[in-house]
């Protein structure tokens, strides 16, 4: 790694830390300045007087706002996100337990959506002007426009409740426990639970890479080196894969960051349709049961995740396309 690239990464990290800090501050203000007594929001009325005093002291809820803010920042940085009212457990522990489920679902879906999207996009570009292309584009646009939770509901009604091919909720059948994350990932039971949420998510995400790949391919196919390859009499498949597709791929890689950004919004909805125990479901449950510390913690972790994934996508892109110099970005 060169000096300029490591400096770029440090700069990027500093920028991300700044954004995260601003988000945490906004969150702090939303939660403290909302109508009503902040004590009510952060201390479960069912706690004993002693517990309440301990928590008030720990979060400094009896202090002026700026001191509370400093305490909040310190506690957040050290990973102490408070105590959930509803689950009577530390927020950080609850978040930590659900994080792998969200990562598996989101990353799995994004990767599969991009694989399918690029291949199908190249195929549709190749089939340009045919009835197959028109039909394919219509389906893709319709899927992009359909609310993902509604697609999930239809899949659930057909494949789970009517045909009984897949379970309707959760990550495991009753009584099933996994020894490790690895064992969970290869277990048939887990994959059967994952299937419907994953398909719903992929159908929602595939549109952008697909349409982008298609239009890039159409652009590239008109360029001189492709015409040249054609004149040399190379087989069509070889021109398509070796010459056109490779060059059409780069902008698709740029879109990766964009998709990861909005995939976390989609994740919240998909997790709730299929009762998938991830961060999105945790957030919605927390907000609807007025479990403020949990809502705050879950939101903060989702935001951090979005920001980290963006950084990752940026790194992948610079690695794919060395022409993008670190200094310029």
């Amino acid at each position: 790694m060169t000096r300029s690239s490591s400096r770029w990464i440090v700069q990027r990290l500093a920028q991300l830390a700044l954004v995260l800090w601003v988000i945490a501050t906004i969150l702090f203000l939303i939660f403290r300045l909302m109508p009503g007594n902040p004590l009510v929001a952060f201390i479960d009325p069912n706690f004993t007087a002693e517990q309440q005093r301990a928590l008030i002291h720990q979060f400094g809820l009896d202090l002026p706002l700026w001191q509370q803010y400093l305490i909040f920042l310190k506690e957040s940085v050290t990973g102490n996100l408070g105590q959930s009212f509803f689950y009577k457990a530390p927020v950080s522990q609850l978040v930590w337990e659900t994080l792998p489920n969200t990562l598996i679902l989101t990353l799995g879906s994004v990767i599969i959506a991009f694989l399918i999207g690029t291949v199908a996009g190249a195929f549709l570009a190749w089939k340009r002007g045919t009835a197959a292309e028109a039909a394919g584009i219509s389906v893709v646009v319709a899927l992009r426009a359909a609310p993902e939770f509604w697609v999930g509901m239809i899949l659930l009604a057909v494949f789970s409740f009517s045909l009984r091919w897949f379970p309707s909720s959760g990550t495991a059948s009753p009584g099933v426990h996994y020894a490790s994350l690895g064992a969970q990932l290869v277990s048939v039971d887990f994959l059967r639970h994952l299937a419907l949420p994953l398909v719903t998510f992929v159908l929602y995400l595939q549109g952008l890479p697909l349409l982008l790949m298609r239009s890039n391919m159409l652009d590239v196919m008109e360029e001189e080196f492709v015409v040249m390859a054609r004149m040399k009499g190379l087989p069509e498949a070889r021109i398509l894969l070796r010459h056109a597709a490779r060059n059409a791929l780069l902008p698709v890689a740029t879109a990766f960051a964009l998709v990861i950004g909005y995939s976390l919004s989609g994740d919240v909805v998909v997790e709730n349709v299929f009762s998938w125990p991830g961060l999105g479901r945790l957030l919605v449950k927390a907000v609807s049961s007025k479990d403020y510390p949990l809502a705050q913690g879950a939101f903060l972790v989702i935001a951090a995740l979005a920001i980290l994934m963006n950084l990752l996508a940026d790194l992948v892109y610079t690695w794919l396309d060395p022409r993008v110099s670190y200094a310029k970005r």
Binding site: A145, A146, F149, F161, S265
Partner: protein
């Protein structure tokens, strides 16, 4: 073909209609004739707008009313027998709910898109034209807005401010302006160096006047393009928020209908007549937005037309 879509009508070469605005409308009409998709999109919007306006006359029942026939509650009826799409599990007419659901969808869509365009355009023009610290501040704000996960933010905000359509609109306005602002800013950076802006500056026009009179009309088309996409986003967001149970329960929306169906076990009893139609309506409306923005894009960037 190419010249008519230039952003500034008065810069049109002589002969291509001269007065400018009529030429732009003419080009719009040409694209509509040529692009069946954009035409279909406008037709879909017009239909839904009509349904929303005429809802009280089109809907056979009050959408909240539980319907009794004699002493019998008309619950979970299949389509037919006076109920075009059947009834819900507590005996409400699904078709009437669907008709009234067009109102919140269109309201949220248009109001949110209006604010997204307004805030995005103002921020983009100010950042691009003045440069310096306003630019830095606004673009860093855009970075923050980019880093905040959209739907989770809407949920948290709506949960605290109360469930209402206007709070959903507020949350969208707070986060979605960033895309419009970035594109508008990029456009302004090139406009700033153009001759007509330069001459206005030399003639002593104030920065405010230049921004309002000379720059704003030129970035409006591209801002409206983002606005037409924001309509779809807003409708989908309202549906998702209502589905998750944070919607305005006093108002029947398509998202609310889907949530109602979901929690009332409509999926396990296979009541497709209940949960399929609202999704189709959302899909049609969002697709219409895509179609229109596609036609609009062709109007702005004529090079696309050959594809």
């Amino acid at each position: 073909m190419g010249a008519v879509s230039r952003p500034r009508p008065s810069l049109l070469p002589a002969g291509s209609a001269g007065r400018g605005r009529p030429a732009r409308w003419g080009a719009l009409w040409a694209v509509l004739q040529h692009d069946r998709f954009a035409f279909a999109g406008i037709c879909i919007y017009a239909c839904f707008l009509l349904v929303a306006l005429l809802a009280p006359w089109l809907a056979p029942y009050d959408p909240q009313q539980t319907i009794l026939r004699g002493d019998e509650l008309m619950a979970a009826r299949p389509p037919g027998g006076g109920f075009l799409l059947g009834t819900t599990n507590v005996g409400r007419d699904i078709f009437s709910q669907l008709v009234f659901g067009a109102r919140p969808a269109l309201t949220v869509g248009f109001v949110a898109a209006f604010f997204v365009v307004l805030i995005g355009t103002v921020a983009g023009i100010v950042a691009g034209y003045s440069g310096g610290w306003p630019d830095t501040v606004l673009m860093r704000l855009a970075d923050v807005a980019f880093g905040i996960p959209f739907l989770p933010f809407v949920i948290v905000l709506v949960a605290f401010l109360g469930a209402s359509l206007w709070n959903i609109v507020l949350a969208m306005a707070l986060l979605l302006w960033k895309d419009t602002a970035r594109v508008v800013r990029a456009q302004v950076l090139t406009l700033r160096e153009r001759g007509f802006v330069e001459s206005a500056r030399v003639l002593g026009a104030s920065p405010a006047r230049i921004m309002v009179v000379h720059i704003a009309p030129n970035v409006l088309p591209i801002a409206l393009l983002y606005g037409s996409l924001a309509i779809g986003w807003a409708i989908l967001t309202e549906a998702a928020v209502s589905f998750l149970g944070f919607g305005d329960s006093a108002q029947i929306s398509w998202g609310f209908m889907l949530q109602d169906a979901y929690i009332s076990q409509a999926l396990s009893v296979g009541a497709y007549n209940w949960f399929v139609p609202p999704g189709v309506c959302i899909m049609l409306l969002v697709m219409a937005g895509y179609f229109i923005s596609r036609g609009y894009e062709e109007l702005l960037f004529p090079r696309l037309r050959r594809q």
